[in-house]
Symmetry: C2
Subunit: 263 residues, 2 copies
């Protein structure tokens, strides 16, 4: 497939979380067309096996590739953990994820917690990358499997969420300088996480670093778009109306239209 600089950027996630990444990409690169796919028929990815998430990611990425995307952003930490290497090898377009840009934000000698889904933590990808970028850091990986459903049901900033966050995170108190939000949903329960960890702990979100990386890659390959009115297309593998309704809080703006993508 031939790509030129007017071709869209493709972004995918298991559902809604990747919209927090798209928001940063759209802000930093306001001339780019973007196609977003949320695999809402099979979400969540975070509790499923590496093998299954790899299969799902390859399917969705292939659809974006065939739609002519010039750059693929895997905007789901779990999908990155299990498929980024395979996708980079299989596709002839650049592929970037959220994990490496996030890991690069960790300064050396930091005591950092990595909060993510069970699948992301189990993969060890964050731990390995942070180790290579900041070899003298101390890493505390913590799986927080209930954060995604709590956020999707609008309970991210409730006392119930606080109690659950405390059960996951209380042992970190006093031990860490920073916590990396290693799931694209987690910015939506930032206040609860901050309250549990204490105000002195720096919360790190990879989304804007990922957007920076997208800009760098497009600049280097001469594929930056220059048009004035970018087109955003949203696809969901289940219930496009619900996607628009829930997606709004992740994207930070109204989603007027989403198409049903049948797998």
């Amino acid at each position: 497939l031939k790509v030129n600089n007017q071709n869209p950027i493709g972004i995918f996630d298991s559902g809604f979380g990747g919209l927090t990444v798209m928001k940063e990409v759209a802000k930093l690169l306001p001339c780019e067309n973007i196609i977003y796919i949320g695999d809402t028929a099979r979400l969540p990815y975070g509790t499923k096996s590496a093998e299954t998430v790899l299969q799902y990611s390859l399917e969705i990425a292939d659809i974006l590739y065939k739609k002519g995307c010039k750059l693929l952003i895997v905007a789901c930490n779990t999908a990155c953990s299990h498929s980024l290497e395979a996708l980079s090898q299989l596709l002839s377009i650049p592929v970037i994820g959220v994990i490496q840009p996030g890991a690069e934000l960790i300064q050396d000698k930091t005591r950092v917690a990595v909060l993510a889904t069970s699948g992301t933590i189990r993969s060890g990808v964050y731990q390995n990358l942070i180790q290579s970028f900041a070899p003298n850091s101390t890493i505390y990986p913590v799986a927080c499997p209930l954060f995604v459903p709590l956020i999707e049901e609008g309970y991210g900033e409730t006392h119930a969420a606080y109690l659950i966050a405390e059960s996951y995170l209380s042992s970190l108190k006093g031990k860490i300088d920073a916590a990396l939000l290693g799931c694209t949903h987690y910015p939506l329960m930032r206040q609860t996480i901050q309250r549990v960890l204490g105000s002195e702990v720096h919360l790190i979100e990879p989304a804007s670093a990922c957007a920076e990386k997208a800009k760098k890659v497009l600049t280097q390959t001469g594929l930056l778009s220059t048009q004035e009115k970018p087109l955003y297309q949203f696809f969901a593998t289940d219930d496009p109306e619900k996607f628009c309704r829930l997606g709004q809080s992740f994207f930070g703006a109204h989603l007027s239209h989403c198409e049903h993508l049948y797998l």
Copy 2:
């Protein structure tokens, strides 16, 4: 396909919840071979659209049918809501669900809450069936979307779960005599639900009524098994090891083996 009385009963669910039904079936019908499929690669069903759940249910039911099942039990309330009619029409074996046996337990003139997933509540199937069996009852349908993830993560009987249950159910206090647990997971947070609703509220679980119905159907069709050592086979569409680990608390006994079913 030809069936005889040694053929297995097929049971399926989106994941683990249906094991609470299988437990009752195995207790009441200890001579029956049973094949159980948990669609763990695509769970949950409860938050997804009717169309998608129907498609998934037809796929899984077809696999059980082709394995020679003599009776199909749809042990997932959401799957029943969206696919029971279609399955009954498509398959040449008897198909039973958990909703009708549950609805038949409601005595007339009861003020009853139906607690279930968003999909089950939205379908209106419980409401319609209870209305027909107990026309003078008053029905309060309540979607409890966070109960399933809380239970699957082992948080069903915690204070956080209590707070979430309270946010769903507190408006029912003093208004109801009974609450029907319209999701096969919910028996695993029975104590929390009882505490929120008050000890005078009768909690109704459809699982044993479903097993009774299975016995009745097999008796009527002359298909009751008489063998002494029944075989139980478990299949999961993702992560069979996790299925065994989590399934134990639902089945109430150790699950020694589960096979990966590739879709």
